[in-house]
Amino acid sequence: MDARTQNLIERSRDGDAEAFDALVRGHQDQIYSLARHVCATAPAEADDVYQETFLTAFKKLKSFRGDSDLKTWLYRIASNLCLMRHRKKRAEPFVPMLDRPDENGDFHPMDFPDAAPAPDEVARRKELSDAVAASLAELPVDYRLVLTLRDVEGLSAEQTAKILKLSVAAVKSRLHRGRLFLRDRFQTRFAKETA
């Protein structure tokens, strides 16, 4: 942790609101982005998670020992808030399309369709964010967290594992399944959009 951040933390612990504002400013967009993507179709919940993250951090700053960096600690608080809100509404267990057996229980590899328009070809469409949000919302929150931390926020598997208190293997497994699921959903949704 750099000296400036350490100083801001010390001052915030002593109740210096300006110092805490400066800490918030340094991380607000990262926390907002995490909350917005994990809450997907519920932007009001994302707003709540964003605010609760910093309110919780302010209250718990005295117990922050600096074992992890501040960003990791804030991501962990935000992730836990997302988990608490969304676990109650857990979706049906999902199976990525590729692993879905047929009616006889036999596995048939997905035919890798190439004809559907690529997501990046329609990325400028206004509907993109709605389609992505709807697709993300179909995933259990544990998977959304991994995908958001890894692919949206650009953290490593190791950093993601530390934040979520998972093994790196578990992060990779959820990332695989989540990416496959979204790939399938994107192809379906974007194909419909351009049909």
Binding site: S33, H37, Y50, L55, F107, P109, K172, L180
Partner: protein
């Protein structure tokens, strides 16, 4: 390349869709159109997420609301 062989590459394709490809995967791809197509579509999927499609800038009204709560 048989389908069941492609399935064994799936984990690696998912792992490497956002980064540098390993030598083994690079060696496999030229002979395997299904894996190439799969990798391309996974890369596009990751690319959509990397663009932060739901937004990454905290709205000013939300920043103000938080500031009020912290000061309140």
């Amino acid at each position: 390349m048989k389908d069941h062989d492609c399935r064994t590459w799936l984990g690696r394709l998912c792992d490497e869709a956002d980064g540098k490809l390993s030598r083994r995967l690079r060696a496999h791809l030229p002979d395997c159109p299904p894996c190439r197509a799969m990798l391309a579509s996974l890369k596009r999927t990751v690319s959509v997420l990397q663009s932060k499609p739901l937004g990454s800038s905290t709205p000013a009204s939300l920043k103000a609301a938080l500031r009020r709560r912290l000061r309140g």
